[in-house]
Assembly symmetry: C2
Homo-oligomer: 169 residues x 2
């Protein structure tokens, strides 16, 4: 039975935590969830630090020398933060096959190698991702978050969120 | 006959200017070339504002709310700045067919629509690019330059510069 409770109750019983809030606000619900309840667990961060407060296009609240993924890892050092799923639209995240038979790319990064392997497995087994690139430690969040501005620009141009990056190699 | 002279002489006789210097230093040679010699001409900016002064990985000297492409356009308002070719390795720029038969993407942006069309033509006719995405005005330089951090990360991981982004749509 799924019991919907407070952030704290939910996090306490969770095996894997998925942070999918607004990026600018991501730290607050995780703080409410409680650092002890995140301890040792995989914390999947899919959020982007987009700032719409000055209108369109959004800017990033953090970039270049830091990232939201790193901020979350620093705030919860005992969680195994894995950044992924932030480089495409929500409908694409869970159904990559809707576009080009899934022939496009998703990235993962995080400091814990085992957590990266586990999340890569979730992406492949649950959602059907075929091309998962493991970028290594959490500092790769910078690059993963900094491709958002061109994503936003392409979204405006293509007038559909059904597109994605593929790393051709 | 190609005559190699000063920046100023070279720019005076040029029909199209290509700025391919280190990004952090891009404005200086263009200043030496002389604003009058850039006036009304297409100025193709392929540089990236990478800062290696604090070691690896490089950061960007400008990003998020501004870009090198925009800085160059502001410094030379009468030039038709077109940003392109900055999102892949130099060997890939002029020979996209070496990878996946050229089935990957290049971007252009700039304030002058005619200049974007002309540069798109050069990319296709001279270098063999097939998928050229016109992102519109020069502010798209932000997104084009901000994908460099993930490019650098991928370069470290793949251990070859022979890769590129494809926008699957």
């Amino acid at each position: 039975m799924v019991k919907v409770g407070t952030f704290e109750e939910t996090a306490r019983h969770a095996e894997v935590i998925l942070s999918a809030t607004s990026g600018a606000a991501a730290l607050e619900p995780l703080t409410l969830a409680g650092a002890l309840n995140l301890r040792g667990k995989i914390l999947v961060d899919i959020s982007n630090p987009l700032d719409f407060s000055k209108g369109m296009p959004p800017t990033l609240t953090v970039c270049n020398t830091d990232s939201l993924g790193e901020q979350i890892q620093r705030a919860f050092p005992e969680a195994k933060v894995v950044k992924t799923l932030n480089t495409m639209n929500a409908f694409m995240m869970v159904n990559p096959g809707q576009l080009a038979g899934g022939d496009h790319t998703i990235f993962v990064c995080g400091n814990d190698a085992g957590a990266r392997v586990a999340v890569t497995g979730y992406l492949k087994d649950w959602f059907g991702w075929k091309d998962v690139i493991d970028l290594g430690d959490i500092s790769a969040s910078r690059g993963m978050e900094m491709i958002l501005p061109i994503w936003v620009r392409l979204f405006g141009l293509l007038r559909t969120p059904v597109f994605n990056f593929k790393i051709v190699r």
